[in-house]
Amino acid sequence: MAFFMQNVINALQWGSFYALIALGYSMVYSILMLFNFTHGDIFMTGAYIGLGVATALLALVAALGWSLPGWLLLVATIIISMFITSLLGVLVERVGYRPLRSAPRASAAITGLMIGIILEYGNLALLGTQRLSFPELIQTTTYSVGSVYFTNKKIFIVVVALLLMVGLHQFIQKSRWGMAMRAMSYDFPIVPLMGVSLNLIAPLTFAIGSALAAAGGILYGMAYPVLDPFMGILLGWKSFVAAILGGRGSILGAALAGFLLGFIEIFTTMVFPSTFRDLIAYSIILLILTFRPYGFFGQAHSTQLRL
């Protein structure tokens, strides 16, 4: 039982990252009908921005001689990094996707991949090949219930991820901007005719997605404190799978599918030899998609790509 519970905790943490990244994919995909393949690398850049902000804040606090609690610095780091990374998201939309709105859709997807590569190698050129360690803003405290172990960081990660998801859900459901976004995902061509500018909604979508990716990046840096310019690739691809699995137009679906992916991966390792983890995990997902081709919560929709 303890063994099982321990893996539930492992899966909750691991699933949080998939869920947070999948949200960004899902938003762009649902609203703009675009596969934003830069997203994994925006996640990576967000983690590095977080590293920079955290280092700068620590230096500032030390210079001023204040003694602020670590969690305050952490929250400040997350908020500042989310803001900076959202600007990066807007820039990617402006430079990468907007000029290609009327171009063939394959070009937009390729552009995304290329911007991703630019971000990866730009980082490599700027910071070199050495791995950077994410600063410890809060001390790790390990708790145990019976023989189930968890840390304050794990709780923080899962709670922050859930808060962000609920926040996004509220924004999409309750705010006027959210309403415009939902409208656009239902009927793309008609919404601009109602006076909602696509040049506002598209950057906003990218900004929110990127901010969530940045939050994911910092939480990831806390859990796995060795940063690497290529860390976003595999995670990005797998989160993309989660976004599709969740279903188009469903924020909740993407989040749930992210957690599901985490659970499938962890529990496959629990039952089978770890060498077969991805083989078995992704065969299961292939099977799910065979029976539910629109994902869990997606409605049948036209496959015409747009933006």
Binding site: N10, Q13, T142, Y220, A223, F230, L234, S274
Partner: protein, 392 residues
């Protein structure tokens, strides 16, 4: 005018003649040892360590008045060639040293990339070559004239298994390794085999893997913890070591975690921090806490060049001393380079229990040393501290 010219010609002739005579004498009486090192290129620090260690050795020989072979003392000369860390340059350097400079034996190249092709040349010309640092089996494979100064991975697995058995008396092992990378995968297999030989089948209670770029090992580590393993062996590189050790501790795994020579980077402690303090890994040599001859070497090197020598310098030191011992053992040089080279090679193959600063060595038929590994403990200050020597 004419007088001057005549005088000049005469002087030149005398100088040339003297030079020629000098050279002629030297050719018979001087022992030349070739050094094939990456002085420039990608890994200049490796070349520097090689050169410095060799020059330090030469100084000692010169102070003693030369190398004693049989009843004669020979002056020694080093021929240092730069291989630019390139395979083709290393081949050229070896060819030049053997055919033009007439070296008796060659030390280097260091990296397998250069040592493998250069070893072919040395073998073809029937000249002894010893690579201090190359760990690839191909360097010495089927090449009777090529040797190496370091242990191979098939040795390291049993060494770690033996150390843990002797030190802790454990009988249940767990292994976590990257299934997509040659070095960890090979070493994990060698370790598993060795451990099961000591403790019987089934004694590796968890044999878990992941793939390169994975960062979350919680599922594997939970399984390892649940398996009742008494320690974890993980032959990974520094970035993964940091993640594995931290996650293991967060999951309440308090047993020892042990590694291999891939841990031996300053980055390990930088990324891992206090979580790695007190852990053990096996390697070629440890600077901090070294004793005896090893300490003497380190002190001398540090005094002369201003920094602590790395494993390349130490292995080069041992290799050049091995060559010197092989030359001494011939009992006398004939002056015929071909015969002398053969004699030196034969003596090298016969060397037993050579006391090196990186461990005692005896060569196998393949030219690989059976030597002891050093177990390093990461101290509470994050230094790599010599803990003990373990022999296979």
């Amino acid at each position: 005018m004419r007088k001057w010219t005549t005088a000049l010609v005469v002087v030149l002739a005398v100088v040339l003649a003297a030079g020629l005579i000098g050279c002629g004498e030297k050719r018979q009486a001087t022992i030349k040892i070739g050094i094939n090192a990456p002085i420039t290129g990608d890994i200049p620090k490796v070349g520097e360590g090689t050169k410095y260690a060799a020059q330090m050795w030469l100084e000692g020989i010169q102070a003693a008045g030369g190398l004693q072979v049989g009843d004669k003392k020979y002056p020694v000369e080093l021929v240092i060639e730069d291989n630019e860390a390139k395979a083709e340059s290393a081949v050229k350097a070896n060819t030049k040293m053997i055919t033009e400079d007439g070296v008796l034996a060659i030390i280097g190249p260091q990296a397998s990339k250069q040592a493998i092709p250069a070893g072919g040349v040395a073998n073809d010309y029937q000249t002894l070559m010893i690579s201090p640092w190359s760990t690839n089996p191909d360097t010495t494979k089927n090449r009777p004239y090529v040797f190496r100064g370091c242990f191979l991975d098939p040795f390291q697995g049993p060494v770690v298994a033996k150390f843990i058995k002797g030190e802790f008396g454990f009988s249940k092992a767990a292994v976590l390794y990257d299934v997509a990378s040659d070095y960890p995968k090979g070493l994990a297999e060698f370790f598993k085999k060795a451990w099961e030989e000591i403790n019987g089948p089934g004694s590796v209670v968890a044999y878990e893997s992941f793939t390169t770029k994975d960062t979350d090992f919680s599922a594997q580590l939970t399984k390892i913890k649940d398996s009742g393993a008494e320690f974890l062996f993980t032959p990974q590189y520094y970035n993964e070591v940091a993640l594995i050790v931290k996650q293991a501790h967060e999951l309440g795994f308090t047993q020892p975690i042990v590694g291999s020579d891939s841990w031996g980077s300053a980055e390990t402690v930088k990324l891992c921090g206090p979580d790695c303090y007190g852990l053990f890994f096996s390697t070629h040599y440890a600077a901090a806490g070294a004793q005896g001859a090893t300490k003497e070497f380190i002190d001398r090197y540090q005094k002369k060049y201003g920094y602590v020598p790395d494993d390349v310098a130490a292995l080069t030191w041992d290799s050049i001393r091995l060559v010197a011992q092989a030359i001494e053992k011939t009992g006398g040089l004939t002056g015929d380079l071909k015969k002398d080279r053969q004699a030196v090679r034969d003596q090298m193959a016969k060397i037993k229990d050579f006391a090196g600063i990186t461990g005692n060595m005896t060569f196998t038929e393949e030219g690989d040393p059976i030597k002891c590994a050093v177990i390093v403990r990461i101290s509470d200050k994050g230094e790599f501290e010599f803990y003990k020597q373990v022999c296979p």
